[in-house]
């Protein structure tokens, strides 16, 4: 029997990247919702270095960091490949995965914090959007013109970013600017995997609104 547990938070893009990979592979797993205010002993002992979600526990052995987990899932379970097959395409997908991973903090600072943190965040997010807009000027998706791992890893810019904007009232992406990025995002939100695998927009919006109002 496959024993797979995922420690996560329902509103976390990094967790949803992992869940997406598990669902694509058809892996059955037990999902355990964590509480950041009162982290479980299982989380603390499974990820003693970062004490962060997501953590995948496979047959009792923990794996941490969403990108590391996604690669592990791809290499361990049968089913459709998550990363592209071609080594160069894999490299490009990993490049964007890492890029997105490093920008998540700036997005949170922009939309949920105030003052200097917010200003620095905004600057970084605008710089990121310029890069993405330029990258997508001649292509429909990030790698090999196919929806794939880089787009999965881009869930927080493809999906969460718009919800953050609506929840916070801080508007960085309009219909006028970043038109290539917006074209990609329009396709993104209509994609069947996005609709099926990501949390309902209204739930996310209500949650972030409540969070932002307390910030």
């Amino acid at each position: 029997m496959v024993d797979v547990k995922l420690l996560g938070l329902w509103y976390s893009p990094a967790c949803h990247k992992v869940e997406w990979a598990l669902k694509l592979k058809g892996v059955k797993y037990e999902y355990i919702e964590e509480n950041l205010q009162n982290k479980s002993p299982l989380l603390l002992e499974s990820n003693p270095v970062h004490k962060k979600i997501p953590v995948l526990i496979h047959n009792g052995k923990p794996i941490c960091e969403s990108s590391v987990i996604a690669e592990y899932i791809d290499e361990t379970f049968e089913g459709p490949f998550i990363l592209p097959k071609d080594p160069y395409d894999r490299a490009i997908a990993r490049f964007w995965d890492k890029f997105f991973d490093n920008k998540m903090g700036a997005v949170v600072n922009t939309f949920l914090h105030k003052g200097e943190e917010q200003e620095k965040g905004k600057e970084e997010v605008c710089e990121m959007l310029k890069i993405l807009d330029n990258e997508l000027k001649d292509k429909k998706f990030f790698v090999a013109d196919k929806f794939g791992y880089a787009d999965m890893a881009a869930n927080f810019v493809g999906y969460w970013l718009g919800v953050f904007q609506d929840a916070s009232g801080v508007e960085l992406v309009t219909s006028e600017n970043f038109s290539n990025f917006c074209a990609w995002r329009d396709v993104y939100v209509k994609c069947s995997q996005v609709k099926e695998y990501l949390p309902p927009r209204n739930d996310l919006l209500a949650f972030i609104q409540a969070y932002a109002s307390k910030a």
Copy 2:
């Protein structure tokens, strides 16, 4: 004919991780030293997002980010495997690779900068050393008790950190503290791959001393 170019800096641990992988695989490559004060058009067009070294250019196609490059080398060229074969060991190696990658800035701030940046850096480096010391308490190497990819990725704590200390006079690791980490490092610096593939200690020391004296 294999056409492999590496854009690098001789004193960069990230570049040496890549060179290490190329050397292990026996890949012939042309090394091109960059100048950070005057980046080459080839670097700027090969890594337009980050404009940073290392960049590997294979048959005209650029790959950026040392971890992404190392995986690409492993998947593309024949020769001994760079990452472990077992998926769980691969995950653990990737975890540590990412961990080290994220700490490099703190090390530079600690030893080459002053004031608040330095204080923050010191705190982060001490926290990192505690984590590593704890991790290495019952084992000789990071993954599967064998010198491997995680140790390659650890080159800047195994090799550079000591040089930084000697060059700057900022002493965080002594023979009294972090004893498990020191035991690993003692083995590390004597390892034949480290001796053969990393830049001579004296050259590095003179370079960092000169840099630190200008900071």
